[in-house]
Amino acid sequence: MEKKTFTITSSEGLHARPCSMLVSAVTPFKSDVTITYKERTANLKSIMGVMGMGIESGAQVEIAADGADESEAIAKVEDIMKSESIGE
């Protein structure tokens, strides 16, 4: 399993737009990808699960991937976070 922590910088937090970008980005991967925030964990492939967490700007989240392509999945998340100014 690979993990990485990010700080959400997008001004509106992890809401609809950034959320759908992350979900769309990780959905094609075989690995299970999760997001943990304040001790709650949701499936990062679920837009409803992630948005339901109400992650605000400035929040620290941990993304974990577990499976055959876990490194690629984390790399992709990092890439989207940076290129779309969602988090760092």
Binding site: A16, K45, S46, G49
Partner: protein, 569 residues
């Protein structure tokens, strides 16, 4: 039986075509116990696959008709449809032995409730997406036919309860000539869409679905909100003429879009737009608005389950200010009470709500609500040319109190290190006769006045504007009203302040010449009236109308004044 239906005209123009009803299918779900859950899962999977194909097609059509931006909503719908949490929740219930429809309904209810409970508008809108997607899936599972507007291949006028985003995305602009809905108001999704597509639209008719059958010949007048069923030949003829002149006028007016508003004798006035949401901005721009003369912020508060947060408000104000840039933007602080209510906030039951605790009075009663809005406005002030306006001011003390609260919030923000523009202006809406009479005293303290004619007339004539039997007293050109307006403009100019008007009268061709003569500086109106007004100004002479004012102010009746305006312009 021949009849006429009226509603709210929200997008100008005339449409003449047959009715096409968008039926809302019956999607009632019953709970059944199933013996073979695996079969239910197969049913669910195949409904999902069909819905996905459909959504892809709608997405493509929406991109073609409205651009990628509007199509993004269907990408979101696809994400909801394919959501693993939704799927596992549905499958989980099915495995407990219930039918797929019931399992889906249950899962959807859970997610919808979750989104609706959030204190953020964006998230609450996701509840609507979940519902829209669920309906599509349910229709597939139930084998219910849903009308498919994408198959329309002749000219029609759409009749519906309301237009959902997915229904509107499937509308073929080539054939849809107008629409009529039972619910909705000026800012409903369908109203905005009508204006965006520039097709006539009437909303909030309440009775259209009940009284218009499929294929009924119709005339829709989106300007005055009339829908004529089974028109006679004479009626059709008359509306055809009106339609032709509307369209040719519109074409002619296009040349005024990028011009300033200048009279025949070279006097410049500012013509701005009244807007109710950020969605109205493209329309204001398209019609060449020189500013926003009235941003009605109450729509940020309506149709929700809780107050908008400071952040949500800041975002909306920032969007408007950024989009207007250097052009002045007058934002009216919260004006609820009277006929405008919020579902999550109980306004007091009053004998005379229009004379009761509304607008600024309500804000004083609920300072936290008011201060949140002031903070959001002040923070947004750095993004454009902001003018803050307080509604329903009757006394100097009220204005001072409101301004005092504003300055307190400004100090707090600055202490927190948050930047506030040092050039924003603070003014008031002039709509209470008491304030108009002492405009000279107010003029020393405000940066500007904006005259709200609807209420000014109602209060001056002591006639409820919702009451049909006294509607004859709604006289914008009554000598008393004109004298009050004149007094306000004189008083303001004496102190070097500017005066705008954001009520209906500002866009009325019969009032424009008189207001110009009196020296009104800014005229704010619905965006669709701007070009017509600009064309009228180009024909008027300020000096000439200035000369007529003393005579007009001595006239005895509204009729005489209107007659004078008609013969002299």
């Amino acid at each position: 039986m021949k009849q006429t239906i009226t509603g709210i005209g929200v997008s100008d123009g005339i449409a003449i075509a047959k009715a096409y009803r968008l039926e809302t299918p019956d999607l009632t779900v019953e709970k059944r116990t199933v013996e073979q859950p695996e079969l239910e899962i197969v049913r669910f999977e195949s409904a999902k696959a069909e819905a996905a194909v459909e959504l892809e097609a709608i997405r493509a059509k929406a991109a073609e008709n409205f651009g990628e931006d509007k199509a993004a909503i269907f990408s979101a719908h696809l994400l909801v449809l394919n959501d693993p949490e939704l799927e596992s929740s549905v499958k989980g219930s099915i495995e407990q032995g219930v039918n797929a429809e019931f399992a889906l309904q249950q899962a959807a209810d859970t997610f919808t409730a979750m989104f609706e409970a959030m204190d953020n508008e964006y998230m609450r809108e996701r509840a609507a997406d979940v519902r829209d997607v669920t309906k599509r899936l349910l229709a597939k599972l139930l084998g219910v036919h849903v009308s498919d507007p994408s198959t329309i291949n002749e000219e029609v006028i759409i009749i519906a309860d309301d237009l959902t985003p997915s229904a509107t995305a499937q509308l073929n602009k080539q054939f849809v000539k107008g629409f009529v809905t039972d619910i909705g108001g000026r800012t409903s999704h369908s109203a905005i869409l009508g204006r965006m597509l520039e097709i006539p639209a009437v909303v909030g008719t309440k009775t259209a679905m009940a009284s218009i059958e499929q294929g009924t010949p119709l005339i829709v007048d989106g300007t005055d909100g009339t829908v004529v069923l089974e028109p006679t030949d004479e009626e059709t003829q008359a509306y055809e003429t009106k339609k032709t002149s509307f369209e040719s006028d519109k074409e002619l007016l296009k040349r005024f879009v990028s011009e300033a508003t200048v009279t025949r004798d070279g006097h410049h006035v500012e013509v701005g737009a009244n807007i109710a949401s950020t969605d109205d901005l493209p329309l204001a721009d398209k019609n060449g608005a020189e500013g926003v003369g009235l941003f009605r912020t109450e729509f940020l508060y309506m149709g929700k389950s809780d107050f908008p947060t400071e952040e949500e408000q800041y975002d909306a104000y920032k969007t408007v200010l950024t989009s207007m840039g250097e052009r002045p933007t007058v934002v009216r602080t919260l004006d609820i009470g009277g006929d405008k209510e919020l579902s999550y906030f109980s306004t007091p039951e009053e004998m005379n709500p229009f004379l009761g605790e509304r607008a600024i009075r309500l804000c004083f009663e609920h300072p936290e609500m008011f201060r949140t809005q002031l903070r959001a406005l002040l923070r947004a002030s750095v993004h454009g040319n902001l003018k803050i306006m307080f509604p329903m001011i009757a006394t100097l003390e009220e204005f001072r109190r409101a301004k005092g609260m504003l300055l307190e919030e400004q100090e707090k923000l600055q202490a927190e290190g948050i930047k506030v523009s040092d050039t924003y202006e603070v003014g008031m809406m002039l709509e209470i006769p008491a304030a108009a009479v002492i405009a000279d005293l107010f003029a020393k303290e405000v940066d500007f006045f904006s005259i709200g004619t609807n209420d000014l007339i109602q209060y001056t004539m002591a006639a409820d504007r919702m009451n049909e039997t006294v509607s004859y007293l709604y006289q914008p050109n009554h000598p008393s009203i004109l004298r009050l307006i004149h007094n306000v403009i004189q008083a303001a100019h004496k102190e070097g302040k500017w005066v705008g008007m954001c009520g209906e009268v500002a866009g009325d061709p019969l009032s424009i010449p008189v207001l110009l003569g009196m020296g009104l500086d800014e005229f704010s109106m619905s965006p669709s009236s701007i070009l017509k007004a600009r064309a009228q100004f180009a024909d008027l002479s300020k000096a000439e109308w200035e000369g007529y004012i003393p005579e007009i102010l001595q006239m005895e009746t509204s009729e005489k004044i209107i007659e004078f305006v008609k013969t002299h312009s």
